[in-house]
Symmetry: none
Subunit: 253 residues, 2 copies
DNA sequence: CCATTTTCGTTCAAAATCAATCAAAAAAGG
DNA sequence: CCTTTTTTGATTGATTTTGAACGAAAATGG
């Protein structure tokens, strides 16, 4: 036997990752073996969930980790979240130290961050830290007690840790944005963490999709002028209202 | 000719690290020995968890998380890991403060920990923290830089944090257990963390399946008498050797 | 719609590889 | 030097892998 089963199958997977799809006949030539053997390899790889067989070849399995597919459909403003995330990542420059708040809005930023070199990201989100490490970004996870519902680390320890840091930019998710009540979130402890971050960051961004606009949650994080609001560009009137409110506040100051 | 055996096996490992896969026939030519000898070497290396044998040769052991389903089949000492994990969890009493080292051995403990009420678990493993939170165990994740290969948090910050804590029991995974060299692990930074934990814990357990026995990795954590060795109960002679070694050490002291 | 072509799944025999065993060679230890 | 243990290479039958053949199923093209 000239080539090992394992070796052939690795080649198939490699070819699949490049093109997304492979033809059976091409594989026969590339791998230098009979069509039966290729068939068997594809079968086996499919059984192991490594690919999906189609007529005449096979295609990549598009699972994108876990099942956000189901989640994406149920939550309606995913597109908005994606746009906001992309917008947010565009703000980041090389060599900067970034804080990423735990939450789905900030988590959406990570796929756009691949290749952003020589930045350091500090976060209190366990999921986020894991994903960041996956795309080879230098990641610092703050320590403390783990909140099991949101997989975020919160508490006094976190505030203390953050007070020892200094960030170039901070990206913070919020549940409510209101002209009068400012930025709000349900959990007071989380609000405290977010406030600590604000204090230590040169520039802060608040991520909120349109569903959060004009909403008020329980715990106040900060007033509107504490940072830049990132949102999808609908509701121009509302945004202008916010801008006006900010100007008024700054005039008062 | 014991030296030659080792030499051959080192060559096999080296060739494996270059190509990711080796063919039996190629090895016969490279190593200038019979096919039977190569077979025996591969068998031995597989028993020690250095590679995975496939038809016609052998492939590198791929740690990349993939599905544990595939891994479970190829790696045979999963049962051992499970037994060790169960044994370890049985040690834990109510109201205790536990440290769980990052790693697969300790991660295996988590499923057995459901229902263990009013304990606090401190860990430097991101995956572990996430799973612990899932089963509603109070979890504290130490902060610091994330190592992207093992998803463990390591470095000076971790040592400093741990020095402020006190544990009732600590469970530590090791890569090598040796009569003379004690407990060892590949990464010196991880070794430093493990040492710090040892210092702060009333009682420490080292988790090692049989494949780790009589092995020596790079960085030393501690001598054999630093804690209790948990392993599956095969290799009685080896275990007795370890016990004897410990007694000798304590006599000397 | 049907006819043609391509691809698929199954079966089978040949070839390659494997695990187990055994005796010779080499090494170790007195 | 001789005995014991370890390592090695060869042999055997069992297992796995491979390529080819053939009817069934699916795509293609009028």
């Amino acid at each position: 036997m000239k080539v090992l089963t394992e070796e052939r199958q690795q080649k198939i997977i490699r070819q699949l990752n490049e093109n997304g799809i492979v033809k059976l006949q091409d594989l026969v030539e590339t791998l230098n073996c009979s069509i039966s053997t290729v068939r068997r390899d594809l079968q086996e790889l499919e059984d192991h969930g490594k690919l999906v067989r189609v007529h005449g070849g096979a295609k990549q399995i598009t699972t994108l980790q876990s099942e956000p597919g189901v989640l994406e459909k149920s939550s309606k403003n995913v597109q908005g979240k994606q746009k906001i995330a992309q917008l947010a990542v565009q703000q980041i420059k090389a060599d900067e130290i970034i804080y990423l708040d735990a939450g789905t809005s900030t988590e959406a930023m990570i796929p756009f961050m691949t290749g952003l070199d020589s930045i350091l990201v500090v976060t209190n989100g366990v999921q986020l830290a894991s994903k960041l490490a996956d795309i080879n970004i230098k990641t610092y996870l703050v320590g403390g007690e783990l909140k099991n519902t949101t997989k975020a680390i919160i508490g006094a320890d976190v505030v203390e840790t953050i007070n020892n840091f200094r960030f170039n930019r901070a990206f913070i998710g919020v549940n409510g944005v209101h002209r009068k009540f400012g930025f709000t979130t349900p959990d007071p402890n989380e609000a405290a963490v977010k406030r600590a971050v604000l204090k230590q960051s040169e520039l802060s961004y608040f991520l909120a999709d349109t569903s959060k606009l004009n909403e008020v949650s329980f715990a106040k994080i900060a007033a509107l002028n504490a940072g830049v609001l990132l949102t999808d560009e609908h509701n121009h009137e509302t945004l202008q209202q916010f801008e006006q409110a900010k100007k008024v506040m700054e005039a008062k100051r």
